[in-house]
Protein backbone atom coordinates (compact mmCIF):
# COMPACT_ATOMS: atom_id res chain seq x y z
CA UNK A 1 0.00 0.00 0.00
CA UNK A 2 2.62 2.47 1.10
CA UNK A 3 4.65 1.59 -1.96
CA UNK A 4 1.76 2.52 -4.22
CA UNK A 5 1.23 5.74 -2.33
CA UNK A 6 4.91 6.58 -2.80
CA UNK A 7 4.69 5.93 -6.50
CA UNK A 8 1.62 8.08 -6.66
CA UNK A 9 3.24 11.03 -4.84
CA UNK A 10 6.32 10.59 -6.95
CA UNK A 11 4.28 10.92 -10.12
CA UNK A 12 2.52 13.94 -8.70
CA UNK A 13 5.79 15.60 -7.87
CA UNK A 14 7.02 15.01 -11.41
CA UNK A 15 3.85 16.60 -12.85
CA UNK A 16 4.26 19.55 -10.48
CA UNK A 17 7.90 19.97 -11.47
CA UNK A 18 6.91 19.89 -15.12
CA UNK A 19 4.31 22.52 -14.43
CA UNK A 20 6.87 24.75 -12.69
CA UNK A 21 9.37 24.21 -15.47
CA UNK A 22 6.77 25.19 -18.04
CA UNK A 23 5.91 28.39 -16.17
CA UNK A 24 9.61 29.22 -15.88
CA UNK A 25 10.11 28.62 -19.59
CA UNK A 26 7.16 30.83 -20.45
CA UNK A 27 8.56 33.59 -18.26
CA UNK A 28 11.87 33.32 -20.08
CA UNK A 29 10.07 33.57 -23.45
CA UNK A 30 8.05 36.60 -22.32
CA UNK A 31 11.16 38.30 -20.91
CA UNK A 32 13.03 37.66 -24.16
CA UNK A 33 10.16 39.16 -26.17
CA UNK A 34 10.09 42.26 -23.96
CA UNK A 35 13.84 42.74 -24.32
CA UNK A 36 13.61 42.19 -28.09
CA UNK A 37 10.74 44.68 -28.36
CA UNK A 38 12.72 47.25 -26.35
CA UNK A 39 15.61 46.84 -28.82
CA UNK A 40 13.41 48.05 -31.70
CA UNK A 41 11.06 50.26 -29.72
CA UNK A 42 9.88 53.48 -31.28
CA UNK A 43 12.34 56.31 -30.73
CA UNK A 44 12.40 59.94 -31.78
CA UNK A 45 14.91 61.78 -33.99
CA UNK A 46 16.07 63.57 -30.80
CA UNK A 47 17.04 60.20 -29.28
CA UNK A 48 19.26 59.51 -32.28
CA UNK A 49 20.75 62.99 -32.14
CA UNK A 50 21.66 62.43 -28.46
CA UNK A 51 23.27 59.10 -29.32
CA UNK A 52 25.26 60.58 -32.23
CA UNK A 53 26.37 63.40 -29.94
CA UNK A 54 27.70 60.95 -27.31
CA UNK A 55 29.50 58.96 -30.04
CA UNK A 56 30.94 62.13 -31.60
CA UNK A 57 32.44 63.14 -28.23
CA UNK A 58 34.13 59.77 -28.04
CA UNK A 59 35.38 59.97 -31.63
CA UNK A 60 36.63 63.52 -31.26
CA UNK A 61 37.33 65.19 -27.86
CA UNK A 62 37.18 68.61 -29.60
CA UNK A 63 33.59 67.97 -30.78
CA UNK A 64 31.54 71.14 -30.41
CA UNK A 65 28.13 70.16 -31.76
CA UNK A 66 26.32 69.49 -35.01
CA UNK A 67 25.82 71.87 -37.91
CA UNK A 68 22.71 71.78 -40.10
CA UNK A 69 24.53 73.88 -42.73
CA UNK A 70 27.37 71.39 -42.93
CA UNK A 71 24.80 68.57 -43.06
CA UNK A 72 22.99 70.25 -45.95
CA UNK A 73 26.17 70.58 -48.03
CA UNK A 74 27.20 67.00 -47.18
CA UNK A 75 23.74 65.68 -48.15
CA UNK A 76 23.85 67.27 -51.59
CA UNK A 77 27.41 66.54 -52.72
CA UNK A 78 29.01 63.41 -54.11
CA UNK A 79 32.07 62.27 -52.18
CA UNK A 80 34.35 60.51 -54.62
CA UNK A 81 31.71 58.09 -55.82
CA UNK A 82 28.76 58.25 -58.15
CA UNK A 83 25.95 58.98 -55.68
CA UNK A 84 25.14 61.57 -53.04
CA UNK A 85 22.31 61.28 -50.49
CA UNK A 86 20.27 63.50 -52.82
CA UNK A 87 20.71 61.05 -55.72
CA UNK A 88 17.99 58.84 -54.25
CA UNK A 89 16.42 60.87 -51.44
CA UNK A 90 15.62 63.93 -53.63
CA UNK A 91 17.36 67.29 -53.57
CA UNK A 92 14.61 68.45 -51.21
CA UNK A 93 14.41 65.75 -48.49
CA UNK A 94 10.77 66.66 -47.80
CA UNK A 95 9.88 65.51 -51.33
CA UNK A 96 9.46 61.99 -52.68
CA UNK A 97 12.77 60.54 -53.84
CA UNK A 98 13.55 58.12 -56.65
CA UNK A 99 16.15 55.35 -56.44
CA UNK A 100 19.01 56.28 -58.76
CA UNK A 101 19.35 52.79 -60.21
CA UNK A 102 15.91 51.18 -60.04
CA UNK A 103 13.62 54.20 -60.39
CA UNK A 104 11.51 53.14 -57.39
CA UNK A 105 9.79 56.04 -55.65
CA UNK A 106 11.03 56.52 -52.08
CA UNK A 107 9.05 58.12 -49.26
CA UNK A 108 10.49 61.46 -48.05
CA UNK A 109 13.48 61.36 -45.67
CA UNK A 110 12.76 64.49 -43.61
CA UNK A 111 10.88 63.60 -40.40
CA UNK A 112 8.55 66.60 -40.89
CA UNK A 113 7.34 65.06 -44.16
CA UNK A 114 7.50 61.43 -43.05
CA UNK A 115 7.07 60.78 -39.31
CA UNK A 116 8.33 57.19 -39.65
CA UNK A 117 11.89 58.36 -40.32
CA UNK A 118 14.38 58.10 -37.45
CA UNK A 119 12.04 56.18 -35.15
CA UNK A 120 13.64 52.71 -35.23
CA UNK A 121 17.26 52.07 -34.42
CA UNK A 122 17.44 48.82 -36.42
CA UNK A 123 16.39 50.68 -39.57
CA UNK A 124 18.55 53.73 -38.94
CA UNK A 125 21.63 51.56 -38.38
CA UNK A 126 20.92 49.35 -41.39
CA UNK A 127 20.51 52.26 -43.79
CA UNK A 128 23.45 54.33 -42.57
CA UNK A 129 25.63 51.22 -42.84
CA UNK A 130 24.58 50.53 -46.45
CA UNK A 131 24.23 54.06 -47.76
CA UNK A 132 27.43 55.48 -46.25
CA UNK A 133 29.23 52.62 -47.96
CA UNK A 134 27.56 53.47 -51.28
CA UNK A 135 28.20 57.23 -51.05
CA UNK A 136 31.54 57.38 -49.20
CA UNK A 137 32.98 53.88 -49.45
CA UNK A 138 33.33 53.82 -45.65
CA UNK A 139 31.12 54.06 -42.54
CA UNK A 140 29.92 57.57 -41.65
CA UNK A 141 31.34 59.28 -38.59
CA UNK A 142 28.98 60.27 -35.76
CA UNK A 143 29.68 63.90 -36.72
CA UNK A 144 28.44 63.27 -40.27
CA UNK A 145 25.32 61.44 -39.10
CA UNK A 146 24.51 64.15 -36.55
CA UNK A 147 25.10 66.98 -39.05
CA UNK A 148 22.83 65.43 -41.66
CA UNK A 149 20.12 64.70 -39.09
CA UNK A 150 20.39 68.29 -37.82
CA UNK A 151 19.82 69.41 -41.42
CA UNK A 152 16.90 67.00 -41.99
CA UNK A 153 15.23 68.33 -38.84
CA UNK A 154 15.34 71.89 -40.22
CA UNK A 155 13.48 70.85 -43.40
CA UNK A 156 9.76 71.59 -43.18
Amino acid sequence: MSRYAGACFGAHAIVLNHFRLEIAMRLVVVATLIIAAAGVRAETPADFQARFSAQAKQENPAFTGFSADQGQRWYARTQGREWSCASCHARNPAATGQHAATGKLLAPLAPAANPERFTRSDKVEKWFKRNCNDVLGRPCTAQEKGDVLAYLLTVR
Binding site: A101, T102, G103, K104
Partner: protein, 172 residues
Protein backbone atom coordinates in the same frame (compact mmCIF):
# COMPACT_ATOMS: atom_id res chain seq x y z
CA UNK B 1 -2.80 37.33 -81.82
CA UNK B 2 -4.42 40.73 -82.32
CA UNK B 3 -7.80 40.36 -80.64
CA UNK B 4 -9.36 43.11 -78.51
CA UNK B 5 -8.64 42.87 -74.79
CA UNK B 6 -12.23 42.07 -73.82
CA UNK B 7 -12.37 39.03 -76.12
CA UNK B 8 -9.02 37.80 -74.89
CA UNK B 9 -10.14 38.15 -71.28
CA UNK B 10 -13.21 36.05 -72.03
CA UNK B 11 -11.02 33.49 -73.76
CA UNK B 12 -8.72 33.41 -70.73
CA UNK B 13 -11.71 32.95 -68.43
CA UNK B 14 -13.02 30.10 -70.59
CA UNK B 15 -9.58 28.51 -70.63
CA UNK B 16 -9.41 28.83 -66.83
CA UNK B 17 -12.79 27.15 -66.47
CA UNK B 18 -11.69 24.37 -68.81
CA UNK B 19 -8.58 23.87 -66.70
CA UNK B 20 -10.74 23.48 -63.60
CA UNK B 21 -12.91 20.86 -65.30
CA UNK B 22 -9.96 18.92 -66.70
CA UNK B 23 -7.49 18.51 -63.83
CA UNK B 24 -4.27 19.61 -65.52
CA UNK B 25 -3.39 22.27 -62.96
CA UNK B 26 0.12 22.82 -64.32
CA UNK B 27 -1.27 24.24 -67.53
CA UNK B 28 -3.03 27.05 -65.65
CA UNK B 29 0.28 28.64 -64.64
CA UNK B 30 2.04 27.88 -67.88
CA UNK B 31 0.88 31.22 -69.31
CA UNK B 32 2.33 34.62 -68.47
CA UNK B 33 0.35 35.20 -65.26
CA UNK B 34 2.32 35.63 -62.03
CA UNK B 35 0.76 34.17 -58.93
CA UNK B 36 1.00 36.71 -56.07
CA UNK B 37 2.92 35.45 -53.04
CA UNK B 38 3.54 36.96 -49.67
CA UNK B 39 6.35 36.82 -47.18
CA UNK B 40 6.63 39.89 -44.94
CA UNK B 41 10.44 39.93 -44.58
CA UNK B 42 10.93 39.46 -48.32
CA UNK B 43 8.39 42.16 -49.16
CA UNK B 44 9.90 44.64 -46.72
CA UNK B 45 13.59 44.04 -47.35
CA UNK B 46 13.64 43.36 -51.10
CA UNK B 47 10.86 45.89 -51.65
CA UNK B 48 12.81 48.78 -50.12
CA UNK B 49 14.87 49.74 -53.20
CA UNK B 50 12.84 48.03 -55.92
CA UNK B 51 9.66 46.03 -56.27
CA UNK B 52 10.06 42.74 -54.38
CA UNK B 53 10.55 40.74 -57.56
CA UNK B 54 8.45 37.55 -57.72
CA UNK B 55 10.62 34.49 -56.91
CA UNK B 56 9.06 32.59 -59.83
CA UNK B 57 10.88 34.84 -62.27
CA UNK B 58 14.33 33.34 -61.64
CA UNK B 59 15.51 29.78 -60.98
CA UNK B 60 16.91 28.80 -57.58
CA UNK B 61 20.61 28.98 -58.65
CA UNK B 62 20.05 32.61 -59.65
CA UNK B 63 18.56 33.50 -56.26
CA UNK B 64 21.41 31.72 -54.49
CA UNK B 65 23.97 33.72 -56.48
CA UNK B 66 22.13 37.01 -55.88
CA UNK B 67 21.66 36.43 -52.16
CA UNK B 68 25.30 35.55 -51.66
CA UNK B 69 26.44 38.85 -53.18
CA UNK B 70 24.29 41.41 -51.37
CA UNK B 71 27.31 43.47 -50.32
CA UNK B 72 27.62 44.48 -53.98
CA UNK B 73 24.07 44.12 -55.26
CA UNK B 74 23.96 45.64 -58.78
CA UNK B 75 26.20 48.47 -57.63
CA UNK B 76 24.63 49.03 -54.20
CA UNK B 77 25.29 47.76 -50.69
CA UNK B 78 22.22 45.70 -49.76
CA UNK B 79 23.56 43.73 -46.79
CA UNK B 80 20.98 42.04 -44.54
CA UNK B 81 21.27 40.56 -41.08
CA UNK B 82 21.86 36.82 -41.23
CA UNK B 83 18.37 35.88 -40.00
CA UNK B 84 16.58 37.95 -42.67
CA UNK B 85 19.02 36.73 -45.31
CA UNK B 86 18.32 33.05 -44.48
CA UNK B 87 14.52 33.58 -44.27
CA UNK B 88 14.39 35.31 -47.64
CA UNK B 89 16.66 32.82 -49.39
CA UNK B 90 14.50 29.91 -48.18
CA UNK B 91 11.38 31.65 -49.49
CA UNK B 92 13.02 32.39 -52.86
CA UNK B 93 14.27 28.82 -53.26
CA UNK B 94 10.89 27.31 -52.37
CA UNK B 95 9.11 29.43 -54.96
CA UNK B 96 11.80 29.73 -57.62
CA UNK B 97 11.03 29.32 -61.31
CA UNK B 98 12.23 26.66 -63.70
CA UNK B 99 15.88 26.34 -64.51
CA UNK B 100 17.08 28.19 -67.54
CA UNK B 101 20.16 26.68 -69.07
CA UNK B 102 22.79 29.23 -70.03
CA UNK B 103 25.80 29.17 -72.23
CA UNK B 104 28.69 28.66 -69.83
CA UNK B 105 26.34 27.15 -67.23
CA UNK B 106 25.90 30.42 -65.31
CA UNK B 107 22.48 31.25 -63.86
CA UNK B 108 20.94 34.55 -65.07
CA UNK B 109 21.27 37.34 -62.50
CA UNK B 110 18.78 39.74 -64.06
CA UNK B 111 15.10 38.98 -64.64
CA UNK B 112 15.30 41.24 -67.70
CA UNK B 113 17.73 38.77 -69.30
CA UNK B 114 15.40 35.79 -69.05
CA UNK B 115 13.64 34.49 -72.15
CA UNK B 116 10.30 34.93 -70.37
CA UNK B 117 10.86 38.63 -69.69
CA UNK B 118 12.11 39.36 -73.19
CA UNK B 119 9.16 37.53 -74.73
CA UNK B 120 6.67 39.42 -72.57
CA UNK B 121 8.18 42.87 -73.05
CA UNK B 122 9.59 43.20 -76.57
CA UNK B 123 6.43 42.93 -78.62
CA UNK B 124 4.17 45.93 -78.95
CA UNK B 125 6.00 48.03 -76.38
CA UNK B 126 6.67 51.60 -77.56
CA UNK B 127 10.32 52.41 -78.21
CA UNK B 128 12.02 54.51 -75.56
CA UNK B 129 9.57 53.77 -72.76
CA UNK B 130 12.32 52.50 -70.43
CA UNK B 131 14.50 55.54 -71.03
CA UNK B 132 12.00 58.05 -69.65
CA UNK B 133 13.11 59.73 -66.41
CA UNK B 134 9.99 58.54 -64.56
CA UNK B 135 10.60 54.93 -65.65
CA UNK B 136 14.41 54.96 -65.68
CA UNK B 137 14.97 51.22 -66.04
CA UNK B 138 13.21 47.97 -66.96
CA UNK B 139 13.80 47.07 -63.30
CA UNK B 140 11.13 49.63 -62.35
CA UNK B 141 8.12 47.30 -62.77
CA UNK B 142 5.84 49.64 -60.82
CA UNK B 143 6.20 52.41 -63.43
CA UNK B 144 3.70 50.52 -65.62
CA UNK B 145 2.52 47.58 -63.46
CA UNK B 146 0.84 49.91 -61.02
CA UNK B 147 0.00 47.18 -58.47
CA UNK B 148 3.37 45.41 -58.66
CA UNK B 149 4.02 46.21 -54.99
CA UNK B 150 1.09 43.90 -54.20
CA UNK B 151 2.33 41.20 -56.56
CA UNK B 152 -0.35 42.01 -59.14
CA UNK B 153 0.99 42.15 -62.72
CA UNK B 154 -2.37 41.65 -64.42
CA UNK B 155 -3.47 43.62 -67.48
CA UNK B 156 -6.13 45.32 -65.38
CA UNK B 157 -3.45 47.23 -63.46
CA UNK B 158 -1.10 47.79 -66.42
CA UNK B 159 -0.90 51.46 -67.41
CA UNK B 160 1.90 52.96 -69.45
CA UNK B 161 3.09 56.41 -68.33
CA UNK B 162 1.36 59.46 -69.82
CA UNK B 163 2.23 59.99 -73.46
CA UNK B 164 2.23 56.29 -74.32
CA UNK B 165 -0.81 54.22 -75.11
CA UNK B 166 -1.25 50.94 -73.28
CA UNK B 167 -0.22 48.08 -75.57
CA UNK B 168 -2.58 45.25 -76.32
CA UNK B 169 -0.51 42.75 -74.42
CA UNK B 170 0.21 39.46 -76.14
CA UNK B 171 -0.76 36.38 -74.15
CA UNK B 172 -0.11 33.71 -76.75
Amino acid sequence: MNLPCSIRRWMAAAAGLGALLVPVAGAVYADSSIRPLDHPVWRQECGACHVAYPPQLLPAPSWQAIMSGLDRHFGADARLDSQAQADILRFLELNAGRDETRAGGKPPLRITETRWFIHEHTEELPAGVWKRPDVKSPANCAACHTAADRGDYSERTLHLPKGFSTPSHSKD
